[in-house]
Symmetry: C2
């Protein structure tokens, strides 16, 4: 097992102005590629703090990945420090300069001396080309260990990790073959799921590890198989067999495979089947539409939606009957059904989702406390509605759980139509 | 200055399954209260790694805050290790047990031995009551330094930091008085803003520090004044004077004060003025509605919205004329104006926002490349439209910038009505 230390540099991280998404993105990519992250360290733009962190990391792990501290206005603390650490000197790299020139040409800007200085790197490093930005990615080898310095801009870092750093690390450290398989489950709590599948889990072969990743009422199960290089086919067979076994005991809770989120599963399913969708959202307030349209290509299936926050809009834009709202209230099965059928018909979609509920933290009554939510899904042939009673009063959590439950009901409806 | 180390414990953090939002939330709260975070360290659920991190932190900073490793099923690695570190032993705490009992009574669950064990704490610590959960918050003092162990659940951690830990740290370390003031600016890039206000910034008194916090096309300026305890009135006067000076040179770019986000500014402004709002979203796909309704109390002003993704929905739900779409296309000033006026009138709102554009990464044409966006805002007396040309092809960034620009245009429209 090859151990990795991550060091993220930036005052903005220590001040809490920016959430350190780089650490989790890097950890996820490394874990999926067969590396183990031993520690993450965040330090400010301060040479001493960086030096101490690098010293400790190089003495305790095989691989050290450093992000940040490379911008044109940041004094290049990191580069100078790496020169000193590896006993090298700054030189202009042809590869890096060519890349800076190319990016400035694309943007139509003049190359300034400040930007040209981005091509300076320690002589002893290898420059890995950064196709998306001007900051160089630098690879150092020292006493059998590797240190890589990457820019802190998340999309540049992610591209470099995926396309340059991880492939080179895999070559250098002859890592194992890794096969990952995701299964999304819904409608069962993590601990109940764990009890249900325990007999299956105990019989998993040693090469497969199982992880539970619960998010907003949905639990993702990830199987990770590890083996020697060249054993990919055999590992794949083991994984397939394990998945088959899981379906035998938990089929009713498995809503999809090979997706990170239920929004992605809905996206792929609707595109794959050529079906269109409309949404009518009250308590989720546009979050369902937003989650779907955040994905490129959503226009292939998403007609649109109505955020029907007030009762007037439920009537005028969705055709919910006034007497329904009077008799049953906005948070009711009847209203949810009229919302979902109204939006599907008015927008001419194959499928529709509707939500109406009390997200909290206030607004509940004794009969309908905070956390009471009705969800309805509808196709051209049937409409299904479901009542949820979330225990908590936290608004965002109740919204996110409603969104996931709605996506899961839609997937089930589509499967029933088959 | 009192230096803080943060240690976040959890295998799920090192595997990248969870983004470490605790570190940034804690850093933000600490910075705003006069403490300086020197380092953040993430380690797995591993006694050796935790011990090393605690050792190093206790030797290099005055305050060490540890999150995680306290759950009922986690073996309580952290508690045992803290016993060993401080030479103490586990005892049942009356305060912690009473809290566990109270929470189980509220939830109507039976108290199990596993849960009762949550009340075990090292004898030498003081238990700070956790009103929101069963995991105890433990305060240790040792050789003039403080270590606090908190649960890793974000909402419990945040409540404890705000209500228990920071007040006690302020008492213990006699921290300075801190006054923070936020100003939201829009419509000017960070570097141009920096050039514009440089003369003002250079004349700021020594007690005031300025920070630039750019997010999705909006830049938040934060003034932080620090001084002796008891100097609050004088500091406030200095801050007021600085803010007044800033308005003199940058009034046109300042859209609001004392809010963290533009969505919060819109929320407070509309509630304060008793105005209602409707939205018609194409390229933002419900993100504007979602951002507003994520805030409790949005029903006071938000009537609802239409996510008009297809041209058919723009016509049927918003009343955009077929000939307008034919002649000018969906991404045009004319369409944006008809969308915003259509939704305002149909939903009977005082104000409306509309967006239509090409978020990317694909879908552009030579005349309307990716990043072309029209935004319109409308009141009962006027409608304004604006064209944006975002340079990048990244979908989420273009959506987020459009949302912020739309909020800022709405705020300006409201101010013009005064």
């Amino acid at each position: 097992m090859n151990l990795v230390s991550i060091i993220n540099i930036g005052d903005e991280l220590l001040l809490g102005q920016v959430v350190n998404t780089n650490a989790s993105a890097m950890s996820r990519m490394l874990t999926a590629s067969g590396f183990d992250v031993a520690s993450v360290r965040v330090v400010g733009d301060d040479a001493n703090a960086i030096r101490n962190a690098v010293d400790f990391a190089m003495s305790s792990t095989d691989i050290v990945l450093v992000t940040g501290g490379l911008g044109p206005t940041k004094d290049d603390i990191t580069k100078k420090l790496l020169c000193e650490y590896f006993g090298s000197e700054l030189v202009e790299s042809d590869v890096a300069l060519e890349n800076v020139r190319r990016i400035f040409a694309v943007r139509g800007f003049e190359l300034t001396p400040v930007n040209r200085a981005q091509a300076l790197v320690p002589r002893c490093c290898e420059v890995l080309n950064n196709d998306l930005g001007t900051a160089p990615c630098m690879w150092f080898e020292h006493a059998g260990r590797v240190l890589v310095s990457l820019p802190g801009v998340p999309f540049e870092m992610e591209w470099l990790m995926q396309n340059r750093v991880i492939p080179k690390l895999q070559d250098t450290f002859h890592t194992q073959t890794i096969i990952n398989k995701n299964l999304l489950t819904q409608g069962i709590g993590e601990s109940f799921l764990s009890d249900l599948i325990e007999p299956w889990e105990l019989k998993l072969p040693e090469c497969i590890r199982l992880a539970y990743l619960p998010v907003a009422g949905m639990t993702k199960l990830r199987l990770t198989a590890r083996g020697e290089r060249g054993a990919a086919d055999q590992l794949q067979r083991e994984v397939d067999k394990a998945v088959e076994g899981l379906y035998k005991i938990a089929r009713q809770y498995i809503v999809g495979e090979d997706c990170e989120t239920l929004a992605e599963l809905v996206h792929k399913t609707l595109i794959g089947r050529g079906l269109t969708l409309a949404t009518a959202e009250s308590c989720t307030g546009g979050t369902i539409a937003s989650a779907l349209t955040a994905q490129a290509g959503a226009s292939a299936y998403f007609c649109g939606g109505v955020v029907a926050y007030s009762n007037e809009v439920k009537e005028s834009a969705l055709g919910v009957k006034h007497c329904t709202l009077e008799a049953h209230g906005a948070v009711s099965e009847q209203t949810a059904r009229e919302m979902v059928e109204g939006v599907r018909e008015r927008l001419g979609a194959d499928l529709a989702i509707a939500t109406t509920g009390i997200a909290g933290p206030d607004g509940g009554t004794p009969e309908k406390p905070v956390g009471t939510v009705w969800i309805a899904v509808s196709s051209r042939t049937r409409t299904e509605a479901q009542l949820l009673n979330f225990p908590g009063r936290r608004r965002q959590q109740n919204i996110d759980r409603t969104v996931n439950q709605a996506f899961s009901m839609l997937i089930k409806l589509i499967c029933q139509e088959d």
